[in-house]
Amino acid sequence: MTHDTARGLAAAYVLGALEPAEETAVREHLRTCAEPHDEFAELGGVVPYLAEIPGLELVEPPASLRDRIMAAAAADLAERRAATPTAPAGAPPAGAPRSTVPFPSAAERAERTGRGAGTLGWAARIAAVVAIVVLGGWNLVLQGQLSDARAYDRAVAAVIDAAGKPGNQTVVLTPTKDGRGAGIAAVTADGSVVMALRDLPATTGTQVYEAWVIAAGSPAPVPVGGFTVGPTGTAAFTTQPVATPPGSTIALSLEPSAGSTTPRGTIVATGVSTAPKS
């Protein structure tokens, strides 16, 4: 399917109103074409609002539905846990990611348990990861930078793993008005923050991204480590441990050089640490 043909079908595609063969062809095009597909994003953005068309009667589902869902989820979780190896015990060295073995990506874990999205195989799931980055406008060459996509996927999995441990907090990092960069992070028991970040402009020269913790109740940002970013715009980083109570702000700044004790550069992204509801 040509690029122009696909673009012309964008409206029908985002509505799910194409014939099956056409929809598959467009999906395949999106997966493999490195050109931008602005129409899909623009028109796709409208579709969710159709769901809120006034005149849609709001109906409460029966309570039993919730019970069924939770029971099914619990069963699914038990199956997953039975099938995957447990993470190594013991505290990792300071600054290292939580697991001392490479944490399998979500796709790899799903493959191992024989579960996962739909009936597509491993190749299609890799393709889905690549599709994520192609649509992100990164224009990756499929072969060469697949490992970067997988590495990022592993970084996300590490954050999820840390966030799930009792007592740990979750952080969602979003760009500031002047900044770029977003990601997720988890604050671990010793106060170090495990992060997976994307959309960061690459650092040049002596530039570094510095992470800061502004603990709730204390106004001064505490530097907790820095890192550089290459052309993929992603970063996996674990900060030094520092007291990070719930409600602390985690901030990222782009510094002209390393070693700042207070942010000098632009703060590009921030998030607030939240404890899970218990």
Partner: protein, 221 residues
């Protein structure tokens, strides 16, 4: 509503941040987090499923499958660009449409993953809009559509019909239906973007001027 966003399209609002933090915990296998997500979105999810399937029992199955899908695939979406709400309701919509199509005599379903991955669920391109539009404003946006455009969109979205099926159902040429779908969606988008300038106290002036004329360039970041 506290909302800030950078130039590259990631939805950033307090509401979505909260959802995303919950989604991280869902991805980590925390049942409490799934329960929280369910309790927040169960009415919208069920209402959409019921409207599309017109069958309470089937609607329940659709919602159950959708939340199970979300449960299994949360780790693939925590870094998704659109809002968690959009992702979740898209899963519901897809499954409801599939369920309806399966009921029909000649059905050939496209090969879809059970849950659209982040790539196939498109970003909300108007971060300041997310959560800021109420149903009245959406209703107003819909008045900018012609009746036949609105009918085509409703048949596609809620009816789960393909363009060909809409053509048959309404007795219109296929080319006309395609045009109504496309122009209708475009018109709705223009109307919704226009509303951003009106309702939002903080961003009023900037939004009307700069953002509505901005091409969707930031959206794909």
């Amino acid at each position: 509503m506290n909302s800030e966003f950078g130039p590259r399209g990631r939805v950033a609002s307090a509401a979505d941040d909260a959802d995303r933090a919950v989604l991280v915990l869902v991805a980590a296998g925390q049942l409490d987090a799934l329960q929280e997500l369910y309790d927040k979105y169960r009415v919208m999810a069920y209402s959409i499923a019921l409207r599309i399937t017109a069958d309470a029992s089937l609607a329940e199955d659709v919602v159950q499958d959708a939340f199970l899908g979300a449960w299994r695939n949360a780790s693939r979406y925590v870094e998704g660009k659109g809002s968690v709400k959009t992702w979740l309701l898209s899963i519901v919509h897809h499954r409801a449409v599939d369920a309806v199509r399966r009921r029909r005599p000649t059905v050939e379903l496209p090969e879809r993953e059970d849950v659209p991955p982040a790539a196939m669920t498109l970003p909300d391109i108007w971060p300041e809009v997310a959560g800021n539009l109420d149903r009245a404003e959406i209703a107003a946006a819909l008045t900018s559509l012609s009746d036949v455009q609105r009918e085509a969109l409703e048949l596609a979205y809620f009816g789960g019909l393909t363009q060909q099926e809409i053509a048959i159902r309404t007795g219109t040429p296929l080319g006309t239906v395609k045009s109504r779908v496309r122009l209708g969606l475009l018109a709705m988008r223009r109307a919704l973007i226009g509303d951003v300038g009106g309702g939002d106290g903080g961003n009023g002036e900037d939004a009307t001027g700069a953002r509505s004329s901005e091409p969707g360039g930031g959206a794909l970041a």
